[in-house]
Symmetry: C2
């Protein structure tokens, strides 16, 4: 009887090394500790972060790693969700140095069991099924902090959300509508614009056309009170131009790279505020969850895969066709 | 007896046309109206705005114009100062469309008499002489809004002020010290750094050296809680890098031109806030004046000229040698 028999094994998705595709394997279950609770994962959901870790494009990489920040799980008989931002600390303004996101460096949710600090475990909203409950964590808290905690929206204001279709952008749209905002969106795909309009957006433009900002100005001539952007890059200077006097712009991502050619006179004469925002504190997560429960918000689900088909789920994300969250079913029970 | 005799004449500085030097002439006195009070100007002070108007580099130019936004003046026997930001409106976040600055399009303070809305007239601080009282208005309210109203400093925080020597930057330094901040400065001239250190700054670096931001990092390794900048341009991306997690950056000017190569990951991961700020509301001005009175702040005076020598005063500003405000003496009485 060797040492191996002291471990219980579980099914999990492992990224074995940089650039390698996700692999469905058996690994030892996480060990319970005083600081962490062990949850049984029912469903989990992909974020772009998982894809970037697979592609080796993320800070603090380590392999092998079980990715995954989001889950619907059980603590005993209690159905729970997770705030994936751990050890934020006491300053609402910014996370502590020890802050980390579930799924790197600690093993994440793409497994039958996951360890999570007790503080980060919240009751799952009852109106959401298991797939929906898995889909709200990272994207939801990021959207809530960027739009609500940072930009402090007021009913009737005009909101522009760039790149509709991603998890964060869709939650920004839904939270914006819940706050009574008039929401406009951009996308590179006409079908994504149409879906956003069906959800309640007042208008949308294709950012792949050269005249996209002229089209937006026509739709909203006074400019936007709030803009929430996850792209940055060269188009950010145009967002500054599209902002109304007194406008607020939240930036939660930078897939478009460096921001250039921003005209400072537009920033100071219009008294623009630009807010960097990432993830969220426990207060942000609790605020988001309260809103989800009060307004019975449901995340948009793009597709559901079985855990053993995680590679297909990653391919779906890589195709950029997704509209909403990509969910993995870990256990069929 | 011609129509001319219905006007009282006064001495004034007039910018007759684009690019023309200031000219000391006799012009009709302003006519009293219900909305405006006519003040007798004792002293007034230059701002870069006046220079830009002379050079034709300002929005909404019109000539001939009497420039000047700042003054120490008399309303009857009461010694007063002026908030040069007029018709701000009710929104503390941003000025109304009808907002304007004294000295364009309305005639300004470089004259024996000036018309000002009653709301913009405040008692002159008693501890200031006439030259000092003329020097606080535009620069002071701009500095107060950018640093205090926008960045909300807390005692003990570290503040970086770029381009020390200009009127706004010097007030940011003084207000920062009054709030108990640890203040660092940049300049292109060693003698300006030394003067700032003598005023209470904790450190300073020459931004004309290529390693200026490395030098600053050595002096303040944790980064700056607050940065107040009137330059923008290519160096702004370095300010984002120098900001501490949770840091706030106020931008009140853009002489350096467009901002480029800003790394979005630094903005969102550090949860940076960038605040455009210009001029100030009546609340900002009243807050500034209360601080001046409470802390007995005195503006730094670079030099004093007689009104007839205004061209020499403009030349002094053009030389970029100034450290503090350039004042004009209108009346010797």
């Amino acid at each position: 009887m060797g040492a191996l028999f002291y471990f219980y094994l579980m099914k999990a998705i492992v990224l074995p090394e940089k650039y390698a595709r996700p692999s469905y394997v058996e690994v030892p279950q996480p060990v319970k500790s005083d600081e962490m609770e062990t949850l049984s994962v029912k469903t989990c959901a992909l974020n772009h972060r998982d894809l970037w870790i697979m592609k080796g494009q993320y800070a603090g990489l380590k392999y092998p790693i079980i990715p995954g920040s989001d889950a619907c799980a059980y603590r005993g008989s209690e159905r729970v969700v997770i705030n994936p931002g751990m050890f934020w600390g006491v300053d609402e303004r910014v996370q502590d140095k020890q802050f980390q996101i579930l799924g790197l460096p600690m093993d994440g949710t793409f497994a039958e069991r996951v360890n999570v600090p007790a503080d980060n475990i919240y009751p799952a909203p009852e109106h959401l099924d298991d797939a929906e409950a898995a889909a709200i964590g990272l994207a939801g808290v990021t959207a809530f902090r960027a739009l609500v905690s940072r930009c402090m929206p007021v009913q009737g204001e005009r909101l522009l959300v760039t790149g509709i279709g991603g998890g964060v952008a869709l939650f920004v749209l839904q939270i914006g509508l819940a706050f009574g905002l008039e929401v406009y969106v951009t996308s590179s795909r006409p079908e994504k614009l149409n879906k956003a309009l069906a959800m309640g957006a007042s208008g949308g433009v294709l950012y792949s056309t050269p005249e996209w900002e002229t089209n937006l100005k026509e739709r909203c001539s006074e400019g936007f009170d709030i803009i929430v952007d996850g792209y940055a890059g060269a188009s950010f200077a145009k967002l500054v131009q599209l902002a109304r006097p007194g406008g607020r712009i939240a930036v939660y991502g930078g897939t478009g790279g460096k921001m250039s050619d921003i005209v400072p006179q537009q920033i100071f004469w219009k008294q623009i505020s630009i807010y960097g925002s990432t993830m969220g504190s426990q207060d942000d997560f609790a605020g988001f969850l309260a809103l989800v429960n009060e307004k019975k918000l449901k995340p948009v689900i793009d597709s559901v895969y079985r855990l053993q088909n995680t590679d297909a789920a990653f391919q779906r994300m890589e195709s950029q066709d997704q509209f909403g969250k990509i969910v993995l079913r870990v256990s069929d029970i």
